[in-house]
Subunit: 228 residues, 2 copies
């Protein structure tokens, strides 16, 4: 479903050029479940932003679902994202002045879905992550783990073909983590959703069938693992 070749990303801070990604090759087939690990600052979120078309590479080619996306402008990328991708951000990126329910409805508004169908699906998505009693709370009225779960619900509400999850369980206790992982695994099994998940936790990485380790802007290892 996605193919990256020679992907580079450099940032300019003042007069210093920092090479966050130095040449990444990555091919992911439909229905795969990948875990991405590696040290803090190694380039994982940068890679996820490029895969998710939130940003453009400095060099290299990127084909997603058969189309060359490395050349697309901002509007075209936004369209691709809304159609195909669900993104759980490391920092959640919720809208501060709107409720949990409205935050989760937002991607459906972009799709032009009618308001009652939209509401029904958003309520469902929030119930699936245990937030049925928090629909009207704004992010500031939610705990860290509850905010994380709103971000998860928002990413899943459009039933994306590709889910990009950047540390989706970092603020969750072990029980809630297991519930979220069980939800992701069932979507993977039953709907064939392709999942790429950054995680620092070995237990969480074990849900995946392939583990990619990023180190210093390069892919250090990429191997299949036995899933129990």
């Amino acid at each position: 479903v996605l193919e990256m070749r020679g992907i580079e990303k450099a940032y300019l801070t003042g007069e210093v050029v920092f090479r966050a990604l130095k040449g990444v090759d990555l091919t992911v087939r439909r229905g795969e479940f990948l875990a991405v690990g590696g040290p803090s600052g190694s380039g994982k979120s940068t890679l996820m932003n490029l895969i998710g078309c939130l940003d453009r590479p400095t060099a290299g080619q990127y084909r997603l679902a058969g189309h060359d996306v490395s050349g697309l402008d901002a509007d075209a990328r936004a369209f691709v994202r809304n159609q195909l991708i669900g993104f759980i951000f490391q920092g959640f990126n919720l809208l501060a002045r709107t409720s949990a329910l409205e935050n989760v409805e937002l991607p459906l508004i972009y799709r032009g879905m009618g308001s009652s169908e939209r509401r029904r699906r958003a309520v469902d998505a929030l119930r699936h992550v245990g937030l049925g009693t928090k629909l009207d709370n704004t992010p500031a009225q939610l705990s860290g783990g509850q905010q994380q779960r709103v971000a998860i619900a928002r990413a899943l509400v459009t039933e994306p073909k590709l889910l990009l999850a950047d540390e989706p369980t970092g603020n969750l206790d072990s029980t809630t983590t297991e519930e979220v992982l069980a939800l992701l695994q069932s979507l993977h099994r039953d709907q064939g959703m392709t999942i790429i998940m950054v995680t620092h936790e070995p237990d969480v990485a074990q849900c995946a069938s392939r583990i990619v380790v990023v180190r210093d802007g390069l892919i250090a290892s990429d191997r299949r693992v036995e899933t129990p």
Copy 2:
């Protein structure tokens, strides 16, 4: 060093009253190292905000370092915090438009420290968490784990008597987590710093000598453990 009795915190959302803390008794002596665990939404961060004088309880008494703080106004609480407490927030709470270095200098500015001494200490604190090459980056130019480490450096730069750490390693890989925990343990051992740390990770909780579990706004268990 701190004593809470009958502490309650309720929030009003619309017309609904939600009781986040329903009557907490907690006594912590100088030099203790506590881990606080419990399910997402159980009240851990709410408790930490009250301990750290960032918020006031709805009911109950709170004495910190011998003074009754439950009755203090906002300015008095800010003074107490700056003098005694270092706080690592679950959401980091960095200033978005200022560099890592300036973020870490901020508590020292409040203390009236001269600019060259301030700079020296802030650079040291950032080096201790491995961010010596990122001093001028703003939070948007830092990875999630790097932002978390800036928050850690900022909390430690004033050499606080009481460190309140809300999930300080949630975004860090295992190696960086070990380095941060080693730093906290040496401050605990050598400077007698009192530490209260919320964490979901069992490995991290094992550094503490006492574990408190919060469940549904109450303390469900509070016991001492053997530290290796």
